[in-house]
Amino acid sequence: MGRLPLAGIRVLSHGFVYTGTAAATMLGDMGCEVIRVESIQRFPSWTRGSMARPPREVARHFGYADNEAGERPWERFYSFHATNRNQYGITLDLGRSEGVELYRSLVRISDVVLENFAPGVMERLGIGYAALEEVKPEIVMVSASGLGATGPYKDYSMFGPNVEAIAGMMALRGYPDDDMTVRNPAPVWSDNIAASTLAFAVLAALYYRQRTGKGQHVDLSQAETVLPHMGEAIMDYTLNGRVARPMGNRDPLMAPHGCYRCRGDDRWVTIAVPSDEQWRALCKAMGSPAWSEEERFYEVAGRLAHQNELDERIGEWTIERDRHEIMQLLQKLGVPAGPVLTPADLCSDPHLQERGFFREVTHRETGTHRYPGMSFKFSRTPADIRIPPNCLGEHNEYVYGGLLGLSGEEIAELERQQLIGDTYLPEVL
């Protein structure tokens, strides 16, 4: 296996919840040496669970490995495992000057600092860009808050759904016939966009540094990463003054175009018909029923005008059939169709299996599991999960000893002072 393309680039990550953690993971996947900075003084809510030590009855509903929170619940939380890998984990109390001093030594040997706290948090800790630039002028720092560090709402507290709401995306997440209060704010989409844009931003700034030697501080607003993904709706407004409304599963150019109930409990298939030729193929697949031969359905304009009727008829055909069978049948005829897959379906999906998407990983606390892999495959230097989701402070020795050159005794002293450690302090909620 070749040397991964980003080998030799060191990133300090303060990734929190999803956006920062997933961006750091993507950089780690491509070979960066990512050091995830945590502390035993502060529990990162929603990153390693809802609480450090949740009551048993809470834990049962929350996706801990094997539905057991265990002695160290923070090592067993599903979304931490999903969004953190290929990162070394250290702890450090940044609330004390000794901690900040140690942090500065880490900055000196790093290329990138990545964080997605609210604006001002890093400054209050004494590790804002101005302070880091003093230590290392060419440092690249990327901060990814909900709305950015400038502007009238810079102090607003935001989670993913809030970002979607203010960016105009939530208003469009609905059925054409429902009203605004029927919006299901989860799962969140904006984190997906912000995370990969953040990874790209780090690389763009690094590329610039590689050419010029200059670092910089990038103020990324998650909402502004979402807006370009809504380009067509924005352009329809700026070009034509039209305010987009929810289209549900429909499309402005294709009909039929919907999600239809299949045989089984809450099982569904999607079917999209881009052309008249594919419409005829769909009719054939359905056994050419008399209604499908009607002239008003021959061309797309007519089909668009009679979508409700088409959807009802097609639904009568799909309800009798298995969603996978429908996919196979229609795909053979060149008609876009696919089952609506659940997480359980995807975990045993033959296509993902054959592509080796899932990676088997053994974790110190949770044992061996299959982990979702990457959205990209490198042909010459394949990426893999080299480092399992890190345990709290798991790599203190490697980082403080191996990279900073502290002796075993000095590291033991840091532990005694509780500047570092591997367990949340008892008073941490």
Binding site: L6, Y156, T181, E224, I234, V243, G258, T270, L346, R380
Partner: protein, 418 residues
């Protein structure tokens, strides 16, 4: 080990203000959404992107709306205009031997090729990675497709709707008694394009360090299954053995949580966790709720959502969205306005940050576009260039860069190659 400084050779064939990716050359053989968004990101940060289109009509996105004044026209698609800013555009017929030859000349000088044909199409054109790597060993070739370059679904046909269904998000989106809902617009394709841009730029670091490029295979389906949200859904199942359900807007559990009507619009409130209950009550100015038996404990509260909303909704109805958001945020209660597109464009925050940009295009004139997803302070934003008209830069690229004479270009045009 920190990366060292590297002095870039000056090779821009047109003087432009220096940007982050100024010395990167990209050949862009993509169409519709995912691929063009990937190369838009590269172009918007300074890479020189040459978009290669079919002479007969070009990128299919040119046929997709919204069109200026709803007039279907290949130079007036708002979708295309948005996705292709800052690129150069040439036409080339790859179904001719001569066209393939010219394409190879472009690839020889490129750092990156991005393509989004159906898997196998590049091989049929004689432009597979191995062939191109023989011409240019440091080439990073990114291929973006629905399901990836291998596997049993490789040749399946898909649209945004079909792709959405085959990721873990759609099944849980929508109401429990209705059909699952796809996300609005082309979210899956945009996401894959963003992932592809990051992976491509990542691979470029490798090819510059070693002189060896590689192929990057990006699958839209796998983008949907990757960190953060997609992977979290799959990991939730892997850890618990419980499959997902579609809970709908009126999900059980804590509140306030969801979209609520105010006097002049809607607000989203993220306040379902026990920690936020006190903030909610203080924000409403109703301390008596803290001792009300229906709401006093985390155990009792979930059973009295309707009672709570009967109290909160009239309170919200008397206030504007902006009053509600401002007062809630002052109590650290995580709220946001639920904007429609017109409201987004008028919002003072996005305006103060200068997010939206004006770009002038020969066919549609001046219009407001979404700006860059982040700005790099070291390279202040230069004026954005509009998407190319079909074949706009043929002379520039074939003449100035590849050295074809006017006579040769006339001949190429006559033969339908450009």
């Amino acid at each position: 080990m920190p990366i060292g400084r590297r002095l870039a050779p000056v090779r821009a064939w047109e003087v432009v203000m220096e940007q982050a990716l100024s010395d990167v050359r990209v050949v862009d053989l993509t169409h519709y959404i995912a691929g063009p968004y990937c190369t838009k990101l590269l172009a918007d940060y300074g890479a020189e992107v040459v978009k290669v289109e079919r002479p007969d009509g070009g990128d299919g996105a040119r046929q997709m709306g919204p069109f200026r004044d709803d007039e279907p026209h290949i130079e007036k698609s708002g979708l295309f205009l948005h996705l292709n800013t800052n690129k150069k555009g040439v036409t080339l017929n790859l179904k001719t031997e001569r066209g393939v030859g010219i394409f190879k000349e472009l690839v020889r000088e490129a750092d990156i090729l991005v393509e989004s044909f159906a898997p196998g199409a590049m091989r049929r054109l004689g432009l597979d990675y191995d062939t191109l790597a023989a011409i240019n060993p440091r080439l990073v070739m990114t291929s973006i497709s629905n399901f990836g370059q291998t596997g049993p679904y490789r040749d399946f046909k898909a649209t945004e709707l079909v792709l959405s269904g085959m990721g873990p998000h759609m099944y849980v989106e929508g109401e429990p008694d209705r059909e699952p809902l796809k996300y609005p617009g082309y979210k899956a394709q945009y996401l894959a394009g963003t992932n592809a841009a990051a992976a491509t730029l990542g691979a470029l670091f490798g090819s510059e360090a070693t002189g060896e490029g590689q192929q990057v295979d990006v699958s839209i389906m796998e983008s949907l299954c990757s960190p953060p949200e997609g992977a979290a859904a799959l990991m939730g199942y892997e850890f618990s053995g419980r499959d997902a359900v579609r809970p709908g807007a009126r999900r059980a559990g804590g509140y306030p949580w969801g979209v609520y009507p105010c006097k002049d619009g809607f607000v989203f409130i993220w306040g379902m966790v026990p920690m936020f209950w006190r903030r909610t009550v203080e924000w409403l100015g109703m301390p008596e709720l803290l001792t009300d038996g229906r709401f006093a404990t985390g155990e009792a509260r979930p059973y009295h959502r309707d009672d709570f909303e009967a109290i909160m909704l009239p309170w919200l109805a008397e206030r504007t969205v902006s009053e509600v958001v401002r007062s809630a945020q002052a109590k650290r209660l995580t709220t946001a306005p639920v904007y429609t597109i017109d409201e987004v464009l008028e919002d003072p925050h996005f305006k103060a940050r200068g997010f939206f940009v004006e770009i002038e295009h020969p066919a549609v004139g001046k219009a407001t576009y979404p700006g860059l997803p982040f700005r790099l302070p070291a390279t202040p934003t230069v004026a954005q260039r509009p998407a190319p008209t079909l074949g706009q830069h043929n002379r520039d690229v074939y003449g100035k860069r590849l050295g074809y004479s006017d006579g040769e270009m006339i001949e190429l045009r006559r033969e339908g190659i450009i």
